[in-house]
Amino acid sequence: MAVNSKEGLSPAGIALIGIVLLALLALTIAIARFHWGAWNLILAMAIATVKLILIALYFMRLRYSGRTLWVFAAAGFFWLLILVGLSLSDYLTRRGPY
């Protein structure tokens, strides 16, 4: 089975991704200083998603991995959706002052 068929990023590339992640972190903190209502959460989650994709693709080397690892990574996300989705079936349907 072909796994990790390529070498992955060079040290400079890894450093660059690290810097981008730190910049995104700074952006998250900066945005949190403003009060834009629901947009605060939406923007924070959007930045977090970008960070997650960068980490999965480069630090976890998914971009350079075989299809089997992609399937397992996708399964991880799918299971997260199960956790969030079925938990929301409780939170979104509660009544009363919770």
Binding site: F72, L83, L86, S89, D90
Partner: protein, 549 residues
Amino acid sequence: MNNIASMPASPPAEAARLPARHYLNEAHTLRSWFLTTDHKRIALLFLASITVFFLIAGVAALLMRLELLTPEGDLVQAETYNRLFTLHGVLMVWFFLIPSIPTVLGNFAIPMMLGARDLAFPRLNLISWYLFVGGGTLTLYSLIKGGVDTGWTFYTPYSTLYSNSAVLSTVAGVFVSGFSSILTGLNFIVTIHTLRARGLTWFRLPLFIWSMYATSLILVLATPVLAITLLLLAMERFFGFGFFDPRLGGDPLLFQHLFWFYSHPAVYIMILPGMGVVSELVAAFSRRRVFGYKVVAFSSLAIAVYGFLVWGHHMFVAGQSPYAGLVFSALSYLVAIPSAIKVFNWTATLYKGDISLDTPMLYALGFIGLFTIGGLTGLFLAALGLDVHLTDTYFVVAHFHFIMVGGMVMGYLGGIHYWWPKISGRLYTEWMGRFSAITAFVGFNLTFLPQFLAGYLGMPRRYWAYAPEYQVLNVMSTLGASILGVAYAFPLIYLTWSFWKGQVAGPNPWEATGLEWRTPSPPPTHNFETPPRVTGEAYERSHAARGEA
């Protein structure tokens, strides 16, 4: 596997001799054991470790049952009783039931069943054992600090706000041991994908491998959620972060959602390996290919997937919304389908089989009966209305013990007895094994059947004193627990004895199929002298497989 090239048929037992060199006598130093990367030696390290935890947890259970012999709380104080059932639960769940079959039988048998020399990551396997022992030691340290009284579920807000017991060290121990589970699961998945012998296609794999694969998926996907949950708990208790405390903006039910997202699938981490063992035993001792092989294989995966969709049935009366309760109730019934498939297919395999009632088979038959009762009573608890009456009663205690002890422990002991000749190269005394299996079945039923009645009549769990009308049932239960204690202690004695003094077993004393029986007992360090090649289906029998060629 009758079509395996270059594998000799078993010699008759009386002519058998131990091989000159094998994994047990390869080296004798402590270093050769504690720094070993041989999956078979690591399996024995796990065997010794989980046996210690099983004994400690068993003593806690014995003390609880002695306390419950009389309605008054007269042997221990209420606080001590709380610590006893927590210790029993934590050690049994995380340090015996979850690791038992994967780390002992899985570690020992999986590479050989695949025709491999070792697991894919041998050093990771050793690290897994050290993490397990480290986590276990941390948890036992809580005992020295006076124990923990939250129950094995660590429910908030009690665990974060009110409990004055050693919550943090216990949680830390479970947290660390979780990484051992993740590494073991990862190792098994990669091994099954990459180290199968030539010709060993997915649908030629033994069903034990399928069940261990499904178990490993759960270990890898669910255990990180437990780790995160326990971390959140520790952060709230230690630093005052608000995750679960409503005063800090948290939600106590969030803990239960996260905890049961791991802990309900954990039930299947415990039972799926037992199901895999039973498939091997039923095939070996009825001398038949397992009926509906593919359906049984896929039912393991179905159980693994469905197991993630049902956690909310632990929270029907916890304050969860009625709609969520309805959803989780309906989903919970789904698990019955693949579970029933397994039971029906094992039974169909027995039909017209050449059945021999050796010790492992007695344990397997015990598993099938007890698991069926445990599974069917689970349907009672999945029903929303009935669950309101039965929640937190002894009915629940009896139900999950039928699954975890009646099912899983019977499967584990059946597997230990089945692979013991391969592990040790020697046979135990058969009548002792049969006596233990039958005694365990009798003792188990006497312990837990009365608890169904007590629970249905309203006796709540987790109290050290109870109303006098429940005493007869509790006396029966304590008597049964004593018998069960004997049934569990006896194999410790005769298996240990047989390890050094038992009759030499030969490569295949059960005339079983499977690659692990085609190598000497005990196996050489690298399992096979020449890599095996597979050209037949799993459990396919012929004259050669029966040693008659």
